[in-house]
């Protein structure tokens, strides 16, 4: 193959479109590299192995929450309850530090509560066919309300983030590798393999792509959806544990600011909110991109209001680029 033909193939819009649609990781990684270079140019000497570790540490909770959105969006849904469930999990665990069972009991209670919330959401969406947007929104009210009640009950006993969670969320091995990867890597492998290699993963795509066809092929969508929202809630709970360890705070609104970025991470990562297209690997890169972008905007010395403006604009531009490139005309 001559160089000219190869170049022509690269410039072919169809090939480009297919590249974006089938391998979103390639252009995304390119964008990430551009951003990293921009950070280095804006303040030379910033980028180092340690810096990468710090960015990765920040990205882990967002990537997990983005994973919740990815799974829900594959079925054409969305999960607005992840932030309140994550905060609840971190907070509940923190209230158990002084109890006899200690933090392991706290984590067990927190994740069980998260799973219960997910189960109710799943029943609402799957069995009663309530729109996922409104079902998860209502669930976030319920979880936040209960967290507040729990907070008032626990005022006397006092709360603190367990040292073990702080270690998990904040510490870096050799000043480079965040310990939260101990949780994140197995989770990622589970999600990636689950989506690609298991029947359940295929069902998620099938239901999102064409619910009628999925039903006619014998998929019981209500079961798939219930399991989906339980998984999503437990993932959110785990993200909350890491987040409380990272920030060393236990508050019922800890993860609120992560709700919209988690959706953004999934969208930037190439998951379609219409369902049936996307994956977790893109979401991870999307989460890292958001964090590097945040670092870049800080380096540029932009005040917080402008950062928000730029942040929002970039999400629109990215999503528009995706839609333009991958749209099937």
């Amino acid at each position: 193959m001559s160089a000219a033909v190869r170049a022509k193939r690269w410039l072919d819009p169809t090939a480009l479109r297919n590249l974006f649609r089938d391998r979103p990781l390639i252009p995304l990684t390119g964008l990430l590299l551009v951003l990293v270079v921009a950070v280095e140019l804006s303040s030379p000497g910033t980028v180092s192995v340690h810096w990468a570790g710090v960015i990765l540490r920040q990205s882990v909770p967002l990537a997990i929450l983005g994973g919740c959105q990815t799974l829900a969006m594959l079925t054409g849904g969305i999960d607005l309850s992840v932030a309140s469930i994550a905060s609840m999990a971190g907070f509940v665990t923190a209230t158990f530090v002084h109890s006899p069972g200690g933090w392991p009991q706290g984590i067990a209670v927190a994740l069980a509560a998260a799973a219960l919330a997910g189960l109710v959401t799943g029943i609402g969406v799957g069995v009663f066919r309530v729109h996922p947007l409104i079902m998860t929104l209502a669930m976030s009210f319920v979880v936040l309300g209960f967290s507040n009640v729990w907070q008032l009950r626990m005022v006397q006993t006092g709360a603190g983030v367990p040292a073990e969670l702080r270690w998990l969320g904040s510490n870096l091995l050799w000043d480079v590798i965040p310990y939260s990867l101990l949780v994140f890597v197995p989770l990622t492998l589970l999600i990636l393999l689950g989506l690609r290699r298991t029947g359940y993963g295929r069902l998620l795509f099938a239901i999102g792509d064409n619910p009628v066809a999925a039903r006619l092929s014998g998929a019981r969508s209500w079961q798939v959806l219930i399991v989906l929202y339980v998984i999503s809630a437990v993932l959110a709970g785990i993200a909350g544990l890491i987040l409380s360890g990272y920030s060393n705070t236990a508050s019922v609104s800890l993860a609120d600011q992560y709700l919209l970025p988690s959706v953004a991470a999934a969208v930037i990562g190439g998951t379609s909110i219409m369902g049936g297209r996307g994956g977790f690997s893109g979401t991870i890169v999307g989460a890292i991109i958001l964090m590097v972008l945040g670092a870049l905007l800080t380096d540029l010395g932009l005040p917080e209001p402008w950062r928000q403006v730029v942040f929002g604009s970039i999400i629109v531009v990215m999503a528009a680029a995706y839609t333009r490139v991958t749209a099937e005309y």
């Binding site: 009663f128 309530v130 319920v142 009640v149 839609t323």
Partner: protein, 331 residues
């Protein structure tokens, strides 16, 4: 792909009673509200005029936000930037009015309404031109508008003109008729009724109900969607102004209005799938949500349970609705 059975089913039902069933939801909600009021009076015999006043003033911004949300949701979209648009319009309003004459205040209100129209138009143009799902565009724009709000004013402050405060606080004629309720009714009626009766209103319902059918019937789908968002921006600006009027200041940080407006809209019988519902239902939905909170206070139940109750009632009503109607063959 999924349109054929969906449309057929909707038509079959539509032949029976589309209009009546739409109003049945609102009527049911009014009955529910009546029961809530009776319940309130039973548990708190002293609940009277001042309670109604507080309800009306406190509910005005959220009611207008719910109306704003309802317009886009009827058109098949959703606007997650309403809270941010309210924050931006509210701070602009409060900042410009501070220390100025009443006449200048009128000009500010007009300017802020134009600003709201512009914000909504930008949202609508982006949704239509980029073809990105509404929820993503408006989510991203919520950051942009909130950022601008912080640029206008970093901390809560400013002031509202005297006449603006007088407009919403107090009562007119009988003390049972709060001014803010009248303002709400007049504003919504003046803006919405002419539009709802016009070609545009019909088009908004049409594109929300079935985009493809609307397109084939010769409706300019993109244009209609654009106008629905612009209208949403206008109502958001009204909500922002009412926020300034009732609190006397402007706050740059968006309140819980975006998500509450979605909740109120759905509770008010507007289908998130689009094309169904009106503006009366969402307003009653807001009152119901507020009454629940009030009742919780009277019962001296921890107000945090109010949030739980609001969530549960929302879910309960929706489950009930979808069980009764059994028509949502969710695509």
């Amino acid at each position: 792909m999924t349109a054929a059975p969906f449309v057929a089913r909707r038509r079959a039902l539509g032949a029976v009673a589309p209009w009546a069933s739409r109003n049945a939801w609102t009527l049911g909600l009014i009955v529910f509200l009546g029961l809530l009021l009776v319940f309130t009076k039973l548990i708190q015999p002293s609940y009277d005029v001042s309670g109604v006043q507080n309800l009306a003033i406190g509910g005005l911004p959220l009611s207008l936000a719910a109306v704003a949300q309802a317009v886009v949701v009827i058109g098949g979209g959703i606007d997650l930037s309403i809270g941010s648009m309210m924050a931006l319009t509210s701070v602009v309003c409060a900042t410009q009015m501070k220390g100025q004459s009443d006449e200048f205040g009128v000009a500010v209100v007009v300017g802020v309404l134009a600003l709201g129209l512009l914000l909504g138009a930008v949202n609508g143009a982006l949704v239509v031109l980029t073809k990105v799902p509404d929820i993503i565009v408006t989510l991203a724009m919520s950051f942009v508008w909130a950022g601008f709000a912080l640029l206008v004013r970093a901390a809560p402050g400013g002031a509202a003109s005297g006449w603006l405060k007088d407009l919403v606080i107090g009562s007119l004629g009988s003390e049972w008729i709060p001014k803010s309720a009248i303002v709400l009714i007049i504003v919504v009626a003046v803006i919405w009724i002419p539009i709802a009766r016009s070609r545009l209103g019909l088009s908004i319902y049409a594109i929300g109900s079935d985009r493809l059918a609307a397109f084939r019937s010769g409706i300019a789908v993109g244009q209609t969607k654009f106008f629905s968002y612009a209208l949403c921006g206008l109502f958001s600006a009204l909500a922002g102004i009412s926020l300034t009027a009732s609190t006397g200041i402007g706050t740059p940080v968006p309140g819980p209005y975006t998500l509450m407006s979605v909740a109120a809209v759905v509770l008010g019988g507007v289908s998130l799938a689009g094309g169904r519902g009106g503006l009366v239902g969402p307003i009653i939905g807001v009152i119901v949500l507020q009454m629940i909170r009030t009742d919780m206070t009277f019962l001296s139940i921890d107000t945090n349970y109010a949030l739980v109750a609001q969530g549960l009632i929302l879910v309960g009503v929706l489950m009930f609705g979808s069980l009764v109607q059994m028509r949502r063959n969710r695509a």
